[in-house]
């Protein structure tokens, strides 16, 4: 295949990626967009077997098939065997960590590619190539180790709260300085040792960078690391002389940056605060311990009665609904109330759950009609006329501390103001706090009733009690 044809096909794949992002930005075309992206990736992968651009400096072309073809196909097979079942079988609740993981391995792959190309080029590398290699290694490694930490946080393999140790900010600053120093070392001295040191330091920095990030900010960080990985791919594209990689990587870098900002806005966080949390946050006293204070807890029958006499009910779903897989049961409850002439809406907080749009995905799975899903801005003004707000497995997204307690991890996040409703019902299993690890005063409010237990079990009971009325 001629160089030009090869390049043109690469460009076509790049166009597929643009169309994919375009499609993914609109609900109707999102799925098709993703498929177009997959098509582009497939084309790009297949075509590389037919022609390999000569690397960096050397201009000799070589004959097909690729060297190491068997190994390459084997490695792809291994990747497929690992990746596809993981993506197929993961539960909805665990998707965010899977995305983090996929992002991390992408960053790792980019770093490895840069390292191999660096070894391969040896002393023939131009300064520009070395600089791009350094960039790719640093950012790829940070993305890799950072994503692993976010994965562990989301999977609750470690605490979801900010990990801040005394003097931490100095350690981070020192590591960053060391990364920069060894970057200079690589550029000036060349050779394998500096590169290994650089990679190791970058991995360490990635860990230190993400550890102090509070759980609520984790998705923002995933998105940011995602954008970073995109940029490393673009940098690799420069070194490997591949227009496709430059375009694809830059696209992801740019759209990822915008997306990160949009997500931070939706969560009411400042991007700066999120990223430099380590430098601004102080070690906090643990506030996650449930206090011994009186609460009003009720039975499924009590809840059913409250609902039965309401004119308007707002259902506020949260992460617990996903954990309990209670989306079908909640729909059953809503339908039942509707059939009784009660006005029912779902109040959807943009960051309820563990990924933006989590609740939409979950409720869509149970075929809840779109028009019953009300966004935060829509539903907040209506709580004054709402008789019952029923909060199912949500906590942080209704926590008034976001408005009243400056300095708490969620301060400034817009919340669903359920406290304006005449009655608030919480369905949760215990008095434990939510993701951000902070106490929710609303649980102790006199107009709040708690129904303890797994959301699905509780809802099933409420449904039968309501039917019996």
């Amino acid at each position: 295949m001629s160089q030009t044809l090869y390049d043109l096909i690469g460009l076509a794949a790049g166009v597929c990626f643009i169309l994919a992002l375009k499609g993914l930005s609109h609900p109707k075309s999102a799925r098709r967009g993703n498929l177009i992206g997959a098509l582009g990736a497939t084309i790009a992968t297949l075509v590389v077997f037919l022609y390999v651009t000569p690397s960096g400096e050397s201009t000799e072309s070589h004959s097909l098939p690729l060297h190491n073809l068997g190994w390459i196909l084997g490695a792809i097979a291994v990747g497929l065997i690992i990746g596809v079942p993981a993506a197929r079988k993961v539960q909805m609740t665990q998707m965010p960590q899977l995305v983090a993981l996929f992002n991390g391995v992408g960053g790792g792959a980019a770093a490895l590619v840069a390292i191999v190309e660096y070894l391969n080029l040896g002393s023939t590398a131009t300064t520009a190539e070395v600089i791009f290699t350094v960039f790719t290694v640093v950012v790829g490694c940070v993305s890799f180790s950072g994503s692993i930490i976010t994965f562990m946080k989301l999977q609750e393999l470690m605490t979801t709260r900010p990990v801040i140790f005394p003097g931490g900010r100095f350690v981070i600053a020192a590591t960053l300085a060391a990364v920069l120093g060894s970057s200079v070392w690589v550029v000036s001295a060349l050779g394998t040792t500096p590169l290994v040191v650089l990679a190791a330091l970058s991995l360490a920095f990635g860990i230190l960078f993400v550890l102090p990030v509070g759980g609520a900010d984790v998705p923002i960080v995933i998105s940011l690391l995602n954008a970073f990985t995109g940029l490393t791919v673009a940098a690799s594209g420069y070194v490997l002389n591949s227009t496709l990689l430059i375009i694809a990587g830059t696209l992801v870098g740019a759209s990822g940056t915008i997306l990160t900002r949009l997500m931070a806005e939706a969560m009411g966080r400042s991007l700066f605060g999120t990223l430099f949390g380590a430098f601004t946050a102080k070690p906090q006293a643990a506030t996650g311990v449930a206090e011994e204070r009186p609460v009003r807890s009720g039975s499924p029958d009590d809840v059913a009665i409250l609902l039965n006499y309401a004119r308007r009910v707002v259902i506020v779903p949260g992460f617990g609904l996903a954990v309990a897989q209670a989306q079908h049961t909640v729909r059953e409850l809503a339908d039942l109330m509707l059939s009784k002439g009660i006005d029912v809406a779902y109040g959807i907080h943009p960051v309820a759950g563990r990924m933006p749009g989590h609740m939409n995905v979950l409720l869509a799975e149970a075929n809840v009609p779109y028009d019953q899903l009300a966004e935060m801005e829509e539903v907040n003004p209506t709580f004054g006329q709402t008789d019952v707000a029923i909060v199912i497995g949500a906590n942080d997204v209704v926590n008034p501390a976001a408005q009243t307690t400056p300095g708490c991890p969620i301060y400034g996040m817009p919340i669903l103001e359920v406290s304006h409703a005449a009655n608030v019902i919480f369905l949760k299993r215990s008095m434990r706090p939510g993701f951000a690890g902070i106490e929710n005063e609303l649980l102790y409010d006199p107009k709040t009733m708690l129904l303890f237990g797994d959301a699905k079990a509780s809802l099933t009971k409420v449904v039968s009690a309501l039917k019996a009325l």
Partner: protein
């Protein structure tokens, strides 16, 4: 490719990326992130190229590792995104 061409492509791609994504609703944040994530799995192409270039076992080993990781990123990313989006179509109603 000369520097100015690379820079121009970079700058234009930045604008395309910005523009295309700038008005997405929060509902689609996660699938979009996941889809973009899958796209950068195209580093697989780079990994295959360096595997082809590899002259030592070390290089080959590292590039095969890169291929495995990149494949996971790319294929897993598109599959998981598709699964998420499949659920969005729920609108039509009907039983699960």
């Amino acid at each position: 490719m000369d520097a100015i061409a690379v820079i121009s492509i970079f700058v234009l791609a930045v604008f395309v990326g910005f523009e295309v994504v700038s008005k997405v609703s929060s509902t689609l944040h996660t699938p979009l992130m996941s889809g973009a994530n899958a796209i950068h799995g195209v580093i697989l192409v780079g990994a295959i190229i360096v595997a082809d270039h590899s002259k030592t076992n070390l290089e080959l080993g590292l590039s095969l590792a890169a291929i495995v990781l990149a494949t996971i990123n790319m294929v897993g990313g598109f599959v998981v995104t598709d699964r998420m989006l499949e659920m969005f179509k729920g609108k039509k109603g009907g039983s699960k």
